[in-house]
Amino acid sequence: MSPLILLLLAIGLGLVGWLAGRARAWSFRKSGPTRLASLPNYHGWYVALWIAIPVLIFVAVWSAIAPELVMQHVLAQPAAADLPAFGFQRQTILNEARAVATGDAMGVFNAEARGLVEPFREAIGRYDIVGIVVALVIAFAAGAFSFLRLRPDFRARNRVEKSVMAILLVASLVAILTTLGILASLVFETVRFFGMVSPLDFLFGTFWSPDPMSNAANPDGSRYGAIPLFWGTIFIGAIIAMVVAIPLGLMSAIYLTQYAPGRLRTWVKPALEILAGVPTVVYGYFAALTVAPFIRDLALAAGMSNPSSESALAAGLVMGVMIIPFVSSMADDSIAAVPAAMRDGSLAMGATHSETIRRVLVPAALPGIVAGVMLAISRAIGETMIVVMAASTAANLTANPLEAMTTVTVQIVAMLTGEGSFDHPATLSAFALGFVLFMVTLALNFIALRVVKRFREAYE
């Protein structure tokens, strides 16, 4: 039984409950002069929620455990006795048999699977029926319970409102729990990594060259110095990109809020926002195929002997362009949020428009602008596609923007897609890098949000 059908079943039963509850409420209204405490619709919703929520919970639990129950049943069959004891092959055979039984596959590849198809089919059929019956029983019991509670003076509305709130709460918890889950898995793998490589080597070492083929039991900590990666990340994402994005973003925000005539603004603002919507892989192409060769040619023309075709400058410049919209839209919002009285006050002192912008509006909007820049930095240092395509994988601790450099994100990709086994420290180092990145961006976002909040309060 696919969960979809059970889902539809739950909705259908809920609908029945809704109609029944509503009808009952109407009958109260007809049979007596009493005023209903809640509208009939709310009675309907009350019953519907009482039915749908338990059924949905059951469906969720059931679709998690039913396959396991089916498996137990099949393994208990005599046909399963001569399966390979364990491992990959056994799993493949079982999966194949199951796929044929559910109709997802046409025929079997492994002969052993053939005998198992029938037991699978039988078990699936049986547990489907069990599932439906239990769902129906739950629906009926919950429906009857709630239906019988309806009275003319029953406050169905309050209950429904409360459940709506609970549903919204659960929805918001999903995002939070996901974040926590991600963090937990990162922490777990990071701890494993630090069990093999010392955090000191990792955080302060200046040589990065993990060897995924080396002996995993005895890693060489000196090859795991992440400083060059941190430096590359900061140099590309927080320095070169910001040198591009801050002035351009700020100036375009000033132009748009202060000078642009309304019609131009309605064109330019969406155009800037489109820039934010361009897939980063497209920027990556642009950086790798257009900007990087151009910079290399420039370097050649300037007399450099053997310039790298992958430069930090190319990646940083393109990344800077990518985040212009983040800077400009935050700056735009915060400049626009400065009260008009401030501007008038300055103009009335005889300040010119540009003096007013420079000395009053921008300083007043500064917290918002700074917050925008921090969000942009956290975007930039977490950005992967552009640097994967345009920066290099060679760790290089240098301040020359024309040289190849690598970043944390590039190395995460390289380590995870490398040929090391999953529990090799080289692979696990990706998690430690991810963890550091996560903490840094989290801190940046946190500070930025605090700053923005203080800024808002100042003007309310």
Partner: protein
């Protein structure tokens, strides 16, 4: 047309508006107003809400330029020079004709920087000592010095509403204007802060030509010597404040000051 009382002393007009009309787009907000603003007196503009007091006040230092749809006809002179002529520098004009707004609007900078703002942009003070002196003098004139002299580096927005408004007046004074325009400067303040501002206006009277828009009849009576009554974009009556309040010549003025409408 405007009824002008004929018992007014002859005075030198600091500003002279002649046949001024103001439009917002196609809508006429000020209709053919002529008035002389003397240096010796405080002039009050009164009238029901929406009659155009603020609009007219803002034409006097061209703050209406910041509203794209606003258009001014007629002529306004400052010491005989037309302020709407192409030869007039708005920056200079606003340095000479300062403005205080309804809601205190100190810049989010320190108290010191708030006052120093104008002198800096107009290059009125050379060096730190001179600037310090300007700041102190302005704050003293605005009656705020004693309250803030120990906290000049605190933010101007951290002051109370009344202090903020006096800060704004001090800020306007700091560039040594010739005229100060005030648009309901006390409407956001409590009676005590209001009394302080009124006292301050009294002290500034004579040194600067002052124009004040107010909704409070008592305030107009207390601080001004000349009153102009506006109604529906027209200036209805102009005369000595005492005369306007005791023996108005126009029925509409009479109705307004006795609170029969508005």
């Amino acid at each position: 047309m405007t009824v002008v009382h004929d018992n007014l002393e002859k005075t030198e007009a600091k500003m002279r508006a002649k046949d001024v009309s103001v439009y917002y787009g196609a809508k006429k907000a000020i209709d053919d107003v002529s008035i002389d603003i003397p240096t010796e007196y405080v002039t009050a503009f009164i009238g029901p809400s929406g009659c155009g007091k603020s609009t007219f006040l803002r034409t006097l230092n061209r703050m209406n330029d910041t509203i794209p749809s606003a258009r001014v006809e007629g002529s306004i002179e400052l010491d005989g020079d037309d302020i709407y002529s192409s030869g007039m520098d708005v920056v200079q004009l606003r340095a000479r004709v300062g403005m205080v707004f309804q809601k205190p609007n100190p810049f989010p900078k320190s108290i010191y920087e708030n006052i120093a703002y104008g002198p800096k942009i107009h290059g009125l003070a050379e060096g730190k000592d001179e600037l310090d002196a300007v700041v102190e003098r302005s704050l003293r004139r605005a009656g705020l010095w004693d309250e803030v002299k120990d906290r000049l580096q605190d933010s101007g927005t951290a002051l109370s509403g009344g202090q903020q408004q006096r800060l704004c007046i001090a800020r306007a004074i700091a560039v040594d204007p010739e005229v100060i325009l005030m648009d309901e400067p006390c409407s956001a303040l409590d009676p005590i802060a209001t009394a302080k501002i009124e006292e301050l206006i009294d002290e500034l009277n004579g040194r600067y030509a002052i124009v004040i828009v107010t909704h409070s009849m008592q305030q107009a009576a207390r601080v001004s010597q000349r009153t102009a009554f506006f109604h529906l974009g027209k200036m209805i009556e102009y005369g000595r404040t005492t005369d306007i309040f005791t023996t108005p010549l126009e029925q509409r003025t009479q109705d307004y000051i006795t609170g029969r409408y508005g």
